[in-house]
């Protein structure tokens, strides 16, 4: 069975990419993922603000009490090797590259163009085959219009695509007024892939303590539907490779994503739930299904249910809303 696909110019054995997750911190896990059939690995995100914040806080707390008291010139050992910055992350890219044969995609989450390009270059130098830019920002500033927000993001992406040679994919949220247009602009400034969608941390409220608690939950297959819609809409309307992430729980979600027009699917929650070997099962189920349904290559299904080809395009646009509402009845 031919499961081959191309994503960001990388020739992949199958569409099963391991999405950004903490699994990459563990080398034995990385090897298990490769052995289980992962076609590429996305690093977890390097958070620009986190690095900067941690750096300044650490220096501040180490220096604050130094040189103030006769018995203690400092409270921490002097250690020049104690690097503050992305060194550890970059080192992990190097290690993974050395340990596996599949492509490794760096991931960067940032908000300032300077910090962004700086870290992007370092990730490239560390050996990443591609870079995923995670445009994770909550548009909470009432002074900034949608157009300004988008412009800022586009500039950010541009600064990176112009600074590095490796292909760049952009991971976005679904919260855009004109998503298709935004995707088009991303492509204009050099993005080669679009990853849909990132999932925000969702703050919960503790009603007794009057506190906000950040939470993150593993994705559910129901989340896939939003991704399918946008993949179908953008499929072949933009030249970028599309990746679906969020809600890919098994082979059926992979198939749906492919049919909607994705080049790859990114899987995280399912692997966190069932372990890296679950990939083997998804792959086998995919092969079996294709076999049973008369497919011989993945290419046959790619984009078959895209907006331009599917038999009922309106389903992806406004009509779906009414139809779904009408079909929904309360459970007894």
């Amino acid at each position: 069975m031919d499961l081959k696909t191309t994503y960001l110019g990388l020739k992949l054995d199958n569409p099963l990419v391991v999405g950004a997750s903490p699994m990459v911190d563990d080398m034995s896990m990385v090897r298990r993922l490769e052995d289980s059939g992962a076609s590429a690995i996305v690093m977890h995100s390097l958070f620009e603000e986190q690095i900067t914040g941690e750096k300044f806080a650490t220096i501040y707390h180490m220096e604050l009490y130094a040189e103030s008291y006769a018995e203690a010139m400092s409270y921490f050992p002097k250690n020049d090797e104690f690097a503050l910055g992305p060194d550890q992350y970059l080192e992990q890219i190097r290690r993974i590259k050395a340990a596996v044969d599949i492509p490794v995609i760096g991931s960067l989450n940032g908000t300032t163009p300077g910090g962004f390009t700086n870290y992007a270059k370092q990730i490239e130098q560390a050996g990443a085959d591609a870079l995923e830019l995670n445009l994770y920002s909550v548009a909470a500033d009432p002074e900034e219009s949608a157009a300004e927000t988008e412009k800022r993001m586009i500039e950010l992406v541009k600064s990176v695509t112009h600074a590095i040679e490796i292909p760049v994919a952009v991971k976005i949220s679904p919260f855009f007024t004109a998503l298709a247009n935004f995707a088009y602009k991303l492509e204009e400034v050099g993005a080669e892939g679009l990853v849909m969608f990132n999932r925000f941390y969702q703050p919960d409220i503790n009603i007794e303590a009057l506190e906000v608690k950040p939470t993150i939950q593993l994705s559910e297959p129901s989340e896939l539907l939003l991704r399918l819609r946008w993949t179908s809409i953008l499929s072949r309307r933009v030249g970028m490779d599309l990746a679906v992430t969020g809600g890919v729980a098994g082979h059926r979600e992979v198939i749906k994503s492919m049919m909607a027009g994705a080049s790859v699917t990114q899987i995280v929650s399912a692997l966190l739930r069932h372990g890296p070997e679950y990939l083997t099962r998804i792959k086998q189920d995919l092969i079996n299904w294709m076999d049973e349904n008369g497919y011989s290559t993945l290419g046959q299904m790619k984009g078959s249910m895209g907006l331009d080809r599917c038999p009922d395009p309106q389903a992806f646009e406004r009509a779906n809303y009414m139809r779904t509402l009408h079909s929904w009845t309360p459970q007894k």
Binding site: I51, T52, E54, K55, F56, A57, T58, I59, Y60, H61, M62, E63, L64, Y65, A66, E67, S68, Y69, A70, E71, A72, M73, S74, Y75, F76, P77, K78, N79, D80, E81, F82, A83, L84, G85, D87, Q88, E91, Q92, G115, N118, L210, E211
Partner: protein, 1200 residues
């Protein structure tokens, strides 16, 4: 002359650099001021820095200096080249091994930062009392007087010990030399190799104990042979001085720097000579030269370098033949002796020299003491000594540097006498510890010392407080090596990095005529003049000072530097002082920023660059008017209401003028007045908590967690409010115990350090705006006066009846803290426990305090925090040593018992006269709670009244000891360095005795006071000094070890996680009539996060199972219950939830992620296993047993 390399470093680094490279085994233990040498060795070893022979020396931290001495002794027996570093009490602990090492003629060098021994008080500063206590051990003693000498003579010592087989104690003055930064010529590996004889090393190795060629060493000898054997070493000691001189001569050939055993400087025909050792010799040398130039006086100084073995021949040969009078200066005091040791040696040597015909006439000799505990020793004092020698009958056994108005030993000196040459640039900087002033100045010294041909020197004076600490930096730069081993007067440049210093200190007293003054001021050049106190204006006008201002905090804020104004002030210094061309200086500052922060990231470097670049635009020159105009004077240091002693003595010390106080001002035996911190209004908080009574739920948690007793709770009758200040807040008290009363939370605005713990712990949120709590931080300045009045009023409110207070967290905070406004760090995790102890039981506590943070904030002058209640009762506090605190506390208990027994016996004997009813009531009194204590106190009052009518000797004695009939408690306090390491043997023994003592371990998991060295309490995976790469063994389980006795009450507590359990543990421990051990989690600045989150982090420590809470109460066994109760819930989440917040763990993770992962996995497993063990031990007992691992609880009730 092969070596021309130079570098700037302090004395400790200069010595450690030689010792490390010349050694194979290094055993270390932290003690001020020598800790740095151990720390550097450990850091170098961790960085795989190699010694001369290409190996990384083995560096091992021991449990005490005694342990370090034992370890090096063993290593030496094994044929290794070993070294160690120590000072003061630590050196005393090494003495037994020093006798052994010397008796076995073992080549070995120990490097000692000479420091004061604790007598009437502890002092961390420098003098020779410690090394002089070793002069009888058989060690050779070689003394250095400057950073360069310390570097050079360290090598001479290592070379000479190999040649002579006599072990060496190489010493240099603590702080004055150990902490002085100077530009020195450094010794290369090549020089070291040339000096150290490979042949002698091979001989040393050949003498090693090895089973391949076995020998026996360390036999026990009897009267028949011991004496002869002891004399058998004589030849080695006879040969030693010339061998040392040979080494010095060889060193001179290689480096061009010649040293002598006794080095004479001055007029070859001098008639008056001072004999002196250490850094003071530099000052004497400088003064002699200048007095010769200025007055043509024939004077000389004999610097003693090799003090042991003392060579009479070399000594007299070094003296000029013309000498008629000698003054010997000792930096130590030996009460009751004929004279101090150097004096005695000089007198004896001269006598012997005359007997042997080496000299014909003995010069007359006087001896004197100077410089104890780093007391300043200046050219003026040197001159005073020479002037004294001029007299027909000079004073013998004099002192110089103080005013002794009691026994009149002191010599007068003229403080204005100055010998410094005009080409030395002198600068003095007043800074705050937190603003980075010292770091920036060290950096300036490096820039000038290493980037120009100039020589540079820096010396730093620190505060005795840990929060809001002030630092004074003294920097000298000049074209020649700088020999002034004393503080700067008549500075060319003075900077005050905080505006409010001008109100507290006579900053410009340091300024010389025509100098420059730089002030960090929120007021600009146009407004500043009118804001200055009159005294400051006077200095500016009279000394014709140039005056500059900058608003450094504004620049820091604008450039994202927070409160770190160091690079900004440093830039100003270079911009206006003219010590370097401005552009060159700025380029150098940037270069060093790059060097310091390069590894931490470009953004950090750029932020610092921005601060430098923004500075000059904000620096303004102020035109100083011709006339003083201000009507404002510096405010009085302490309030007029303060007791006489505080006004007369403490205030002088607070004003930085303690040096001027005469001997008669002080107590004779180290006893010091209580409750003096309350007079030191430090005003260090920029923001203080403000109480909103309308949403407060009256839980008193804020008061409980306050490290400085600066926020307090009161419950009181409404009528007390009749004359309250208008802004004084109160509310109706909500609980039934004091129904109808009023309630107030009040901040002490001038004592608060602004740590925010009270706000962090406050659970009361405004329901419509949860951001607003019952306590919010608000700017202090506008509230200062109002809240000061409110706090004064608050303190006058009556204390509630203690017998009616419920003993829980809330109730405890209505009790008066008898520990207030200590010098502990802002946000300290230890002091809330100490304060709670004093609230619950302080009026009948004796406290034995191990040396460390708690003894420093508990008893470091100028002011002391322990205080008394309205009846004059309060904690009686004492500090003995670091290592012996459990024993010290036990002794207190034994004495209380003894007094109690005397009282009981006399009571029985006098029962017929006193009355059987009262006697029986006293003897049978239950004193388990406040009611019982109050009743017994009443009975003792009654007893005293009766005794007053009896004139018998028994009645008189009973009156003396009657208070012991009221139950006392003994608390033994200390940190983990004491309890887990150096004091563990004693602690273990004391716990085993069954006596009623309460041990409180303030566990910061690191030696906090000396700067964060690892202890056995340090957790696995955390980085600390001496465990740079992360500690690889788990934290010692002290609690479990104590539980094994079965009859010891043990509790593990964390106030931030469960304050109710904390209070319960304290009351249970106190009520238990046997030994109790409380291990209290104490967050600490050495953990590396914002202390405002200290309580939150304690909570996480408990939730993740890192710090399980429990109480092990042997009394429960009698009720058929298991002694052990686990007080914390099963763990949630992993240890990483806890460790990720702290720099001490993050450092390891950042440095070696794989190793960190392994260590954390091991720690997680250890934690899980330990919890399982606790759970097993805490299982309910099955029939017929007392529970797992627990013996019965009897045998603990030695005291009642």
């Amino acid at each position: 002359m092969s070596n021309a390399a130079s570098a700037t470093m302090d004395g400790n680094e200069a010595v450690a650099s030689v010792a490390y490279r010349s050694s194979e085994v290094i055993a270390i233990y932290p003690i001020t001021p020598s800790s740095t040498m151990g720390e550097l060795s450990d850091e170098w070893a961790a960085a795989n820095k190699r010694n001369l022979w290409g190996n990384v020396p083995s560096v091992t931290e021991m449990q005490s200096e005694g342990g370090a001495a034992g370890a090096v002794h063993g290593a030496l027996q094994g044929g290794s080249l070993a070294t160690t570093f120590t000072a003061s009490q630590g050196l005393l602990l090494m003495i037994p091994n020093m006798y052994k090492i010397a008796g076995e003629l073992t080549p070995f060098v120990m490097h000692v930062t000479a420091r004061t021994l604790a007598t009437h008080a502890l002092s961390i500063f420098g003098d020779h009392s410690d090394v002089m206590a070793c002069r009888q051990t058989g060690f050779a003693m070689l003394c250095s007087g400057s950073v360069q000498e310390a570097h050079d003579l360290a090598l001479v010592a290592h070379a000479a010990t190999l040649e002579t087989r006599v072990p060496f104690l190489h010493f240099f003055d603590g702080f004055r030399t150990s902490h002085e930064i100077a530009k020195i010529n450094t010794l290369s590996d090549d020089v070291l190799k040339q000096m150290l004889s490979e042949e002698a090393i091979a001989d040393h190795r050949r003498r090693a104990l090895t089973p391949d060629a076995p020998q026996i060493r360390g036999t026990a000898q009897n009267p028949d042979v011991f004496f002869q054997c002891r004399e058998a070493c004589n030849l080695f000691y006879e040969a030693c001085p010339s061998a040392v001189q040979d080494a010095m001569d060889k060193f001179a050939l290689i480096t061009g720097r010649q040293y002598k055993l006794f080095e004479y400087v001055g007029d070859p025909d001098a008639e008056r000579v001072i004999v002196i050792m250490g850094s003071g010799a530099q000052t004497a040398d400088q003064t002699v030269q200048r007095m010769h130039e200025r007055f043509g006086e024939k004077l000389g100084v004999l610097k003693v370098r090799l003090f042991r073995p003392w060579s009479v021949k070399d000594f007299v040969n070094a003296l000029p033949r013309t000498v008629k009078k000698i003054a010997v200066l000792d930096r130590t005091k030996e009460p009751g002796s004929v004279g101090e040791p150097l004096y005695q040696d000089v007198v004896t040597a001269l006598r012997e020299a005359r007997e042997e015909g080496l000299i014909l006439v003995e010069p007359s000799v006087i001896g004197g003491r100077y410089g104890l505990s780093s007391k300043e020793f200046t050219p003026a004092m040197v001159k005073a000594v020479f002037d004294e020698l001029k007299k027909d009958k000079p004073k013998n056994h004099f002192t110089v540097g103080i005013v002794d108005d009691v026994t009149h030993t002191s010599l007068n000196f003229d403080p204005l006498f100055n010998v410094e040459s005009a080409d030395i640039f002198k600068a003095v900087f007043f800074g705050l510890g937190a603003d980075g002033t010292v770091g920036a100045n060290k950096n300036s010294i490096k820039i000038i010392g290493e980037e120009t041909d100039n020589y540079a020197q820096g010396y730093f004076v620190y505060d005795s407080k840990k929060s809001g600490a002030i630092t004074i930096s003294h920097l000298r730069f000049g074209p020649r090596p700088i020999r002034s081993a004393y503080l700067i007067a008549h500075a060319n440049f003075v900077a005050a990095h905080q505006f409010n210093f001008l109100e507290k200190y006579d900053v410009l007293d340091y300024a010389g005529l025509g100098g420059t003054f730089l002030l960090n001021s929120p007021m600009g050049a146009d407004k500043i003049w009118d804001e200055l106190p009159r005294e400051v204006q006077q200095h500016l006008v009279e000394k014709r000072l140039k005056f500059y201002v900058i608003d450094a905090y504004k620049v820091a804020q604008e450039t994202g530097m927070g409160v770190r104004i160091n690079t900004i002030m440093q830039t100003c210094f270079f911009a206006i002082s003219g010590v370097l061309p401005r552009d060159e200086a700025i380029a150098q500052i940037k270069k060093s920023i790059e060097k310091t922060y390069g590894k931490k990231g470009k953004d950090v470097v750029e932020k610092n660059f921005a601060a430098v670049d923004h500075t000059l635009a904000h620096l303004y020159k102020v035109e100083v008017p011709e006339q003083v105009t201000s009507n404002k004077w510096m405010p009085p240091i302490v309030s007029d209401a303060a007791p006489d002693f505080v006004k007369r003595v403490t205030a002088m010390m607070l004003a930085n003028k303690g040096d001027l106080l005469p001997v008669s001002a002080f107590p004779i035996d180290g006893t010091w007045p209580m409750a003096t911190t309350r007079w030191e209004k430090r005003n260090v908080a920029s923001d203080i908590p403000v109480w909103d009574s309308s949403i407060c739920i009256q839980c008193n948690k804020c008061a409980a967690v306050c490290p400085h007793a600066a926020i307090r709770a009161a419950v009181y009758p409404e009528e007390c409010l009749s004359d309250a200040p208008i802004s004084f807040k109160s509310n109706n008290y909500k609980a039934p115990d004091f129904k109808g009363f009023k309630y107030t939370i009040q901040v002490a605005p001038e004592d608060c350090t602004g740590c925010k713990l009270c706000v962090a712990v406050c659970p009361a949120k405004d329901k419509s705006n949860p951001k607003h709590k019952a306590l919010d931080m608000t700017e202090q300045a506008p509230l200062r006066m109002q809240e000061r009045d409110n706090f004064d009023f608050f303190l006058k409110l009556p204390e509630p009846d203690r017998t009616k207070i419920r003993i829980d967290v809330k109730g405890s905070q209505f009790m008066l803290p008898l520990f207030e406004y200590s010098g502990a760090c802002s946000g300290c995790g230890e002091t809330p426990y100490v304060k709670l102890l004093t609230q619950l039981f302080g009026d009948r506590s004796l406290i034995a305090n191990a040396t460390g943070c708690s003894s420093i904030y508990g008893g470091n002058l100028p002011t002391t925090p322990y205080c008394t209640n309205s009846e004059g009762r309060g904690p009686a506090w004492g500090n003995s040593l670091f290592e012996d605190n459990a024993e010290f506390g036990l002794g207190m208990r034994l004495s209380v018992n003894s007094n109690q027994e005397i009282a009981t016996n006399l009571l029985n004997r006098l029962a017929p006269q006193i009355g059987e009813t009262l006697v029986t009531a006293i003897l049978a009194a239950a004193m388990d709670d406040e009611i019982g204590i109050a009743k017994q106190r009443e009975r003792v009052r009654e007893l005293r009244a009766k005794l007053a009518t009896l004139a018998s000797p028994d009645a008189i004695v009973l009156n003396q000891v009657a208070d012991y009939l009221v139950r006392k408690n003994v608390w033994i306090l200390g940190g983990d360095g004491w309890a887990y390491d150096i004091g563990y043997g004693g602690l273990d023994h004391v716990l085993s005795t069954g006596h009623d003592v309460n041990v409180l371990v303030l566990d910061t998991e690191v030696y906090s006071n000396t700067g964060g060295q690892a202890s056995k309490s340090t957790p696995m995976g955390a980085s600390a000094k001496f465990a740079v790469a992360g500690k690889s063994s788990p934290k010692k389980d002290l609690g479990l070890m104590a539980m094994a006795y079965g009859n010891v009450y043990v509790a593990r507590i964390a106030m931030g996680a469960k304050d109710a359990q904390t209070v319960k543990a304290f009351t249970e421990a106190e009520s238990y009539r046997g030994p109790s051990l409380i291990i209290a989690y104490s967050h600490c600045i050495a953990h590396g996060y914002d202390m405002a989150f200290g309580l939150e982090q304690q909570k996480i420590a408990v939730e993740t199972g890192y710090w399980p809470l429990y109480r092990f109460d042997p009394r429960r066994v009698a009720n058929g219950e298991n002694a052990l109760q686990i007080d914390s819930a099963p763990p949630k989440g992993s240890l990483l939830e806890f460790t990720k917040n702290e720099t001490r763990f993050r450092m390891v993770e950042r440095q070696d992620p794989q190793r960190f992962k392994q260590l954390m996995a091991a720690n997680q497993e250890y934690t899980t296993r330990r919890l399982a063990l606790y759970n097993e031990l805490a299982k309910p007992p099955t029939n017929g047993t007392n529970g797992h691992g627990v013996t019965n609880g009897h045998g603990a009730t030695k005291e009642s």
